[in-house]
Structure formats: C-alpha cells, structure tokens
Amino acid sequence: MDTVINIVSWLLMTSGGLFVLVGGIGALRMPNLYTRMHAASVTDSIGPILVIGGLILQAGMTLASIKLTAILVFLLLTGPTASNALASAAMLSGHKPELAQEISEDDAV
C-alpha cells in the first residue's frame, strides 16, 4: 500500500514539477503580457494541485495534510483572483492585448 501511495505521489509531484517548469518557460517565451499570463496560470493552477496533492499523499491522514489542503484551497482561490486583478489593472491603464482576431460571440446576447 505504501509503495503504491509513494509511487502515485511521486508521479503527481514530478508531473507537477514539470508543469511548473513549463509554465516558467512559457512565461519567458510568450510574446506579450496576456499570453504570458496564460503560461503563468499553468504554474498557478495545475502546479499546486499536483504538487500539493502529492504531498498530501505523502503526509497521509495528519494535520499536515489538512494544512496542505488549506494552502491549496487558498492558492486556488487567490491565484485567479490575483491574475484577474493584474489583467484588470493592465486593461485599466490602456494596455491593449494583441489579438489575432476578435471574436465577439455574445454580441448577440
């Protein structure tokens, strides 16, 4: 049982680490602010989910895993909020995104 949990948790953590790394590379490679934010959000969403998930498996049923859960919840709550805040701020100061083409699907709405 332990080995299974171990293997799963390692798997989770490693893939989490990889995603994080990808997000980092993306943040560097992307051409402008908004596209970079997409890359960054990889590190903010899937990264924590996988890494902390792995850690929870490691910790088992202890207080630590509850704290880890709290951290995860917190990150998932605040991460997007912060991104949104940043995007709004950028918009607010007239920072226009470069678009391939604008779709306004809900103009009909």
């Binding site: 953590m13 490693t14 903010d44 924590p48 890494v51 850690l55 630590a64 605040t78 940043l86 701020a89």
Partner: protein, 94 residues
Amino acid sequence: MYLAVALAVVVTMGLALIRALLGPTVYDRVLAVNMMGTKTVLLLSVITFAIGRPDFLDLALAYALINFIGVLAVLEFFRKRSELDPENNTREAE
C-alpha cells in the same frame, strides 16, 4: 524526489525572475512577482517535507496570503494612479 520537484520550482523561479528583469512592462514584472510568490509557497511546502518538519507548513500558508495582498495592493496602486493621472497611465517601465 523532493529534490527534483524543488529544483523544478527553483528553476521556474529563476525563469520568472528573468521575466521580472526583462519586463518590458510593469505588469510583466508584477506577473513575475506573483509567480514567484506562488512558487515560493510550493517550494516551502516541498522543503518542509524534505527536511522532515511538516509542522512548518504555517509558513507556506502565510506566504500564500501575503502574496495575494501584495498583488491586490499593486492593483489598488494602479487604480489610484489612473484616477489621479489619467493621461499618464500608459507609461511603461524603462
């Protein structure tokens, strides 16, 4: 194994730092700061396990929180600035 994850996180932090240094706009930098904040949280979580003292997770929790407030403060800063100085708010760093 923790090492590998931690290393990935640290390298990402390095990449974020490069982004923070490159800019080119202040928002890119803030983005990088935010990234570094969440990465630090991850790093700390991993390290607490790596050194076998999971009771220090409090730290990671505190970080997560502080980072959020920091970004909101930045937003508030921009909001105030655009209120005060509407023409000049497209100004970019460097």
